[in-house]
């Protein structure tokens, strides 16, 4: 038993580190601010968006496969701009457009997938380019305007499960987390993603459909961004070209903090979501304490370094 536990803890060291930090953050926040234990208050004050959490899930898969997708937040903005344009200029009802959120997102993601998987270009540069391109097209479509969403579309965060604090976006995040967990750890696709990250050459030699898996991965990443676009449109009530700008850094930070190797091959959904919660709590805690959002990023940066230091130090100790 002891031996088994020791091995498991060595293997999941990053996840344990994040869990520990999360516990410390919870206790500290709760001690400083008793209201913190009030779930309603916590969710209400959470400055970190559920969209970030959702994107963290797919980004975990992308980074696990040894890739990166910087363009997700631009896809998010562009899908919003496309839907808003179709709605306002061509009068397509928003309810009809809803399924096209993920669909458009997936199509945009397939552009990344094609360039990375079929043309063999590095995903860092490809998605850097599409990040500018997609955001730019959104800007061409909308300019600096805020396009209002119809009232029936607005306010998803006020929909809650009866007799609970669970609002719809949070519920969605929980469902998506479970789905991502199952996808990564229980499906053939998830296994392929992992082995491609561990050793892409051996994956090819083993008959793993590397290119196809990679394209699907980027499509999935884009589709999730499209879904998040709907969520954001509903929460904010407007479409803008600069929606979610810069959030990709929060997303990548959460994934790396959660123990996913930036070189691919290692990582868990649990670690990512725990890191997302940790960041959310730290930010909420700082928000309660009156720390400006701009300064909160410093704390997140330190958190990231701290997690990597801890992992490195313990690794050496072994």
């Amino acid at each position: 038993m002891g031996e088994r536990w020791r091995r498991a803890s060595a293997r999941y060291l990053p996840e344990l580190t994040v869990t520990g930090l999360l516990a410390v953050a919870l206790l500290l926040s709760g001690w400083r601010e008793p209201r913190f234990w009030d779930a309603a208050y916590l969710f209400d004050r959470s400055t970190l968006h559920m969209e970030t959490g959702l994107l963290t899930l797919t980004m975990t898969l992308v980074i696990l496969a040894g890739q990166i997708d910087l363009s997700v937040t631009s896809i998010l903005a562009l899908v919003g701009a496309l839907l808003a344009t179709l709605h306002v200029r061509f009068g397509v009802p928003m309810t009809v457009l809803l399924p096209f959120g993920p669909i458009f997102g997936g199509l945009l993601g397939s552009v990344n997938g094609y360039l990375v998987a079929r043309r063999g270009l590095p995903s860092l540069v490809v998605t850097l380019a599409t990040m500018a391109l997609f955001r730019g097209i959104a800007q061409i479509l909308l300019g600096d305007r805020s396009v209002m969403m119809p009232p029936e579309m607005v306010g998803i965060e006020r929909v809650t499960l009866p007799k609970s604090y669970l609002h719809a976006p949070l519920l969605l995040l929980i469902v998506a987390t479970v789905a991502a967990y199952l996808l990564l750890h229980r499906t053939v696709f998830g296994r392929y993603v992992t082995v491609i990250g561990v050793n892409p050459e051996a994956a090819r030699y083993s008959g793993v459909p590397v290119a196809r898996t990679m394209i699907r991965l980027f499509v999935l990443s884009g589709a999730m961004a499209g879904l998040c676009s709907l969520l954001l449109l509903s929460r904010l009530g407007v479409a803008r070209y600069d929606h979610a700008r810069g959030w990709e850094l929060d997303v990548i930070t959460a994934v790396v903090l959660g123990g996913t190797s930036i070189f691919g091959g290692r990582g868990t959904i649990y670690g990512s979501i725990a890191a997302f919660l940790l960041i959310a709590i730290v930010q909420t805690g700082m928000g309660v304490a009156g720390v400006k959002a701009e300064i909160q990023v410093t704390a997140i940066g330190f958190l990231l370094l701290l997690a990597i230091f801890l992992a490195k130090v313990t690794e050496r100790g072994r």
Partner: protein, 504 residues
């Protein structure tokens, strides 16, 4: 300054090296003398490269010691080796493509003047070095686009610029054309006459007898003999190289006489291989022999859809098929156990279960969902059948020995139930017991009807297992032997290891 010929510049005493639980070199004693070209001979995996890399500072020994001019020394890295006057020229030269040829020679110690690179001195010295080597490379041109031979010359020049007294050339001729080999030979002779101690690693007898003064033969990580080249014959060296009895005789039950399953007709992929035609019957093992670089691995990779030939046809069960990817190959019942286990076969951080079942996931899943119970029972079954020594099937593959890792890679492919098995160096770097077990399995699979292409540098292995042996030389099939007529000497002669000059 230069010592009289024959004085010992470097001596290794009981040098040993193990990677994890696999011993690749044991108790090696050699002496490198001034004014001598000393050959390290042996099959792939015999330990000759390892010995050179220990002297060159690339690896560190697990036991034993090295003496330079009679004084014990520790060589922790290539830089320390260089400071002791030791230079190692690797088979694949290290090149900095955007630096000039001259800079490639002097990288890390460019001549400086007033805080700036002294280009005049640099180019002058490079030109001089290249001239003494007798090669025509413009020292100003970037190294990008230079041939392997030219880049090896840059490495050699780099070692010489450090006043290296001991030069180790690791399979330097493997990827050279005959003309380039000839030129290299002249250079080596000249260096010998200057009193340097040279180590030449290779396995082409013609080169050994043309160039070398002394030969040390290694087999299975041990030195099995040292001869003065003048006092020996190719036959004697070959017997030393391959003269091992098989661990246990493998007996084949049946004779394959059905129609061919796999036929390859007029296959070419220049410059790797040309006009290759052969076939394999159900239950037949066809050995593919030849030197490293003769195109054996390339043929296997092309069959498996990892690269495309430029012309020719493959037929399976008599019907022409198009194989564009490993997935296509697998659909036709093929499996490839690749040459480089670490890079192409194994997923070291993943569990045995994840490794064994990877290529069979479509079968071990339902609608995309993994069926882990089946995966576990299949893995347990293979671990038992192949006698894999492990703690549990959930432990990472990394923790297993080389031989057991290889069995897991083999299990990954056997689990797919192949009809055509392509084996590329299936027993490289694994211990004798594991080797015997793998041999038994190859024979048993053939008896069950699997058509097997066996690529191996281990001649006794090829000869013992194969029904027919094809010999590949410089990308062409040059001989075919039936099981009875193939002897190590005949195969080696056909592969181009002769005392005659190579014909192209």
């Amino acid at each position: 300054m230069s010592k009289p010929d024959g004085s010992v510049l470097l001596r290794t005493i009981g040098l040993s090296k193990a990677f994890g639980s696999v011993t690749v070199l044991e108790n090696a004693d050699v002496e490198l003398r001034a004014g001598e070209i000393h050959a390290f001979l042996g099959e792939n995996g015999a330990g000759k490269s390892t010995l050179a890399k220990l002297i060159g500072g690339i690896h560190r020994p697990t036991a034993g010691r090295i003496e330079r001019d009679g004084r014990p020394v520790t060589i922790r890295n290539p830089r320390e080796a260089a400071s002791l006057g030791i230079g190692l020229i690797p088979q694949e030269p290290r090149t900095f493509p955007d630096l000039s040829a001259a800079e490639n020679i002097f990288v890390g110690r460019l001549p400086m003047r007033g805080g700036r690179v002294d280009w005049k001195t640099l180019y002058g010295r490079a030109e001089e070095l290249l001239r003494t080597l007798g090669v025509e490379i413009d020292p100003r041109r970037p190294a990008r686009g230079l041939s392997v031979a030219d880049r090896q010359m840059l490495e050699l020049a780099g070692a010489l610029s450090l006043d290296a007294r001991i030069l180790l050339l690791d399979e330097t001729t493997a990827s050279l054309t005959p003309g380039e080999v000839g030129r290299l030979g002249e250079i080596l002779r000249r260096l010998r006459s200057e009193g340097k101690a040279l180590v030449f690693i290779g396995h082409r007898m013609e080169e050994i007898f043309d160039l070398c003064d002394r030969a040390t033969v290694l087999r299975d990580g041990r030195i099995v003999g040292e001869r003065r080249v003048r006092e020996t014959t190719p036959d004697e060296l070959l017997r030393l190289m391959v003269g091992r009895a098989m661990g246990e005789a493998v007996t084949r039950k049946k004779v394959a006489d059905g129609p061919p399953i796999l036929e390859v007709v007029g296959w070419s992929q220049p410059p790797r291989f040309r006009d290759i035609s052969f076939s394999i019957r159900k239950g037949e093992i066809v050995g593919l022999a030849g030197l490293v670089g003769a195109g054996r691995t390339e043929i296997a990779c092309a069959l498996f859809g990892l690269s495309r030939p430029t012309s020719g046809e493959v037929r399976i069960d008599g019907r022409p098929v198009e194989i564009r990817s490993p997935e296509d190959a697998m659909r036709h019942g093929m499996a490839l156990v690749p040459e480089d286990r670490q890079r192409q076969g194994a997923f070291l951080p993943l569990s045995l279960r994840e490794n064994v079942t990877l290529s069979s996931l479509p079968r071990l899943s339902g609608r995309g969902w993994l069926r882990e119970d089946d995966a576990r029972s299949r893995t347990t079954e293979w671990v038992r059948r192949l006698g894999v020594r492990c703690r549990e099937i959930e432990q990472p593959l990394r923790q297993l020995s080389g031989g057991n890792q290889q069995k897991i890679v083999l299990a990954k492919w056997l689990e797919t139930g192949p009809r055509i098995l392509l084996l590329d160096e299936p027993t490289r770097g694994i211990d004798v017991n594991a080797k015997t077990e793998v041999h038994r399995w190859i024979a048993e699979l053939a008896d069950q009807g699997v058509a097997t292409l066996l690529i191996s540098s281990d001649l006794p292995e090829v000869l013992a297992l194969s029904d027919r042996v094809l010999v590949l030389r410089a990308g062409r099939l040059v001989r075919e032997f039936a099981a009875g007529e193939a002897t190590p000497e005949a195969v080696i002669a056909a592969a181009g290891v002769t005392t005659e000059a190579t014909v192209r």
